[in-house]
Amino acid sequence: MESAFSSADLSAIWLAFKLAAVVTVILLLVGTPIAWWLARTRSFWKGPVGAVVALPIVLPPTVIGFYLLVAMGPNGPLGQLTQALGIGLLPFTFAGLVVGSVFYSLPFVVQPLQNAFEAIPERALETAATLRASALDTFFSVALPLARPGLLTASVLGFAHTVGEFGVVLMIGGNIPDKTRVVSVQIYDHVEAMEYAAAHWLSAGMVAFAFVVLLLLYTFNPSGQRK
């Protein structure tokens, strides 16, 4: 086993998981209000916003990566903002990967949450209001606990999807060891260098990871058992 992963492999694995963890936390914070709004609003903007959130599902990752690269570049709006804030430019940095991944994985967090919120009966929220709970209180004491299966699904999908992304990473992160070279890029490098054995180890590891994550999700998530 010791020879299975090189230190560069391990570094790439570590980086991928670190990226996925940061992105998942940000996505839960950002995606939950978006999902709540999408689930409850009757506004005209529900359709357009829902479509924009879902775009990464259908667009090639290279397209998203390309536009993010342009936006984060020295002349792009995001780039000018980050420069004005003294952060510098985001492309080819870990922070840039985080921003790109947040966009790319957003639908995988928002959609399960939105479904979970939509399944909460209006009556439960009304009941809470008649029991003196404000809207915010109701959200935390009734809506979030009732949406727990969706929250779990959203976290797992957001995390796993970020671990597995490749196109966006390559476009805006490049391939810098310890900074932006995540597992999927490392596999690509191995294949390019004809190191098929190393590519196998990492790829099989990814397959096993994905399988175990989904197995745990389907086994322990109570969504299937709730009536």
């Binding site: 009556r123 439960a124 009304e126 009941t127 809470a128 209001a129 008649t130 029991l131 003196r132 709970a133 404000s134 809207a135 209180d137 004491s141 009734v142 606990p145 009732l146 727990r148």
Partner: protein
């Protein structure tokens, strides 16, 4: 005093309600499905926000013009048709959900009290409300609402989703609350038997409009209202338990103007009870009946007669000074007996049911 006025016009639905209710006792909103009872109740709760509305509860304005007190700031309790317990909380946590959200100084109902009133001591240790029966869930929901120490309790057909047995179980608890709580209750129902049992005041609704409101007896005794056309139309008599006849297992109820024998009831002498006399169980004789098996015969005066379909008429009868009875007889009997308003006759009450 509770004053409310709500005006709403949708193409498919209208609500035009103006109400003044006493701030005590149980007021029933009664009417057929689609008459706007639930909408009116939801407007009072603030669950529906109607621009054109006014609501004042005692000396507090809850809605008027641009002022609108949000639901969670209104000191009310609401019991929905289905119990709506939170599935992610235990029974105790459900009960305490509202209690925890009001300052201790404002708590007038204690948890133990509510548990005792609604007979929940065996249920409170349950981890989840999932295993409770429909009646048990509704009792928990009522206790949960009471624990917010509401100044107005709103109940939207709390029994209609229950089977007959659960209904029988839960009604005594509601009657008990009526006796022990000094909270005005607005109770939506389309079941006349429930209303007759529980209500003090009655508000009749039809097609989004309030068509009559007043004391229960007064409304149920009127011939010109839809309640008189119902199959189970009838009057309610408040009477005192006077005598128990142990040999024949009967109890005599006395009221001003007469008395009624009913099946033996387990109430102490002197307690006040309600008996319901259905119009179809009251027949008329112009001379004092002899040799009849009917033991409840009251001297009454015909106060009004009104046609009820092609073959029947409803009579409004007064007993003594104030008590009213309804009687439903055939039109032919009316003509054969020559019954006219103002006549003194005898009402034969075939059965009277003690309801509360």
């Amino acid at each position: 005093m509770i004053k409310a006025r709500f005006d709403l016009s949708y193409p498919s639905f209208e609500l035009h309600a103006e109400l003044q209710l006493p701030a005590h006792g149980i007021t029933a909103l009664f009417g057929p499905s689609g008459s706007g009872k639930t909408t009116l109740l939801r407007c009072i709760a603030g669950l529906e926000r109607i621009a054109n509305g006014m609501l004042q509860v005692k000396d507090e304005v809850w809605q008027d013009g641009a002022n609108f007190l949000p639901v969670h700031r209104r000191p009310l309790g609401y019991v929905f048709q289905e119990a709506s317990l939170f599935p992610h909380l235990s029974v105790r946590q459900n009960l305490e959900y509202g209690l925890k959200r009001i300052p201790p100084a404002q708590r007038r109902v204690q948890a133990e009290q509510a548990v005792e009133w609604l007979g929940l001591s065996r249920l409170i240790a349950r981890d989840s409300p999932a295993g409770l029966s429909g009646g048990e869930r509704q009792r928990v929901a009522i206790a949960r609402a009471l624990l917010t120490s509401p100044r107005l309790l709103l109940m939207d057909e709390p029994l209609s989703a229950l089977d007959a047995a659960s209904k029988r179980d839960i009604l005594p608890y509601l009657e008990r609350l009526h006796g022990e709580l000094d909270i005005p209750v607005i109770y939506v129902s389309h079941a006349l038997d429930e209303v007759a049992r529980l209500a003090d005041q009655l508000v009749l609704m039809e097609q989004g409009c309030v068509i009559a409101s007043g004391a229960l007896n007064e409304i149920l005794g009127r011939l010109d209202l839809p309640t008189a056309h119902l199959d189970d139309a009838g009057a309610v008599i408040e009477a005192g338990v006077a005598v128990h006849d142990e040999e024949y297992h009967l109890t005599r109820l006395d009221f001003s103007g007469g008395s009624l024998w009913v099946s033996r009831v387990e109430r102490t002498i002197g307690s006040v009870v309600r008996a319901r006399v259905l119009a179809r169980d009251v027949s008329i004789a112009t001379v004092a009946p002899q040799g009849t098996s009917i033991s409840n015969i009251l001297a009454v005066r015909i106060a009004g007669i009104r046609d009820e379909g092609p073959d029947r008429v409803n009579l409004r009868l007064t007993v003594g000074g104030s008590q009213v009875l309804l009687s439903r007889i055939t039109r032919r009997s009316r003509d054969q007996l020559g019954l006219m308003p103002g006549m003194e006759v005898f009402a034969q009450v075939k059965s009277a049911a003690l309801i509360a």
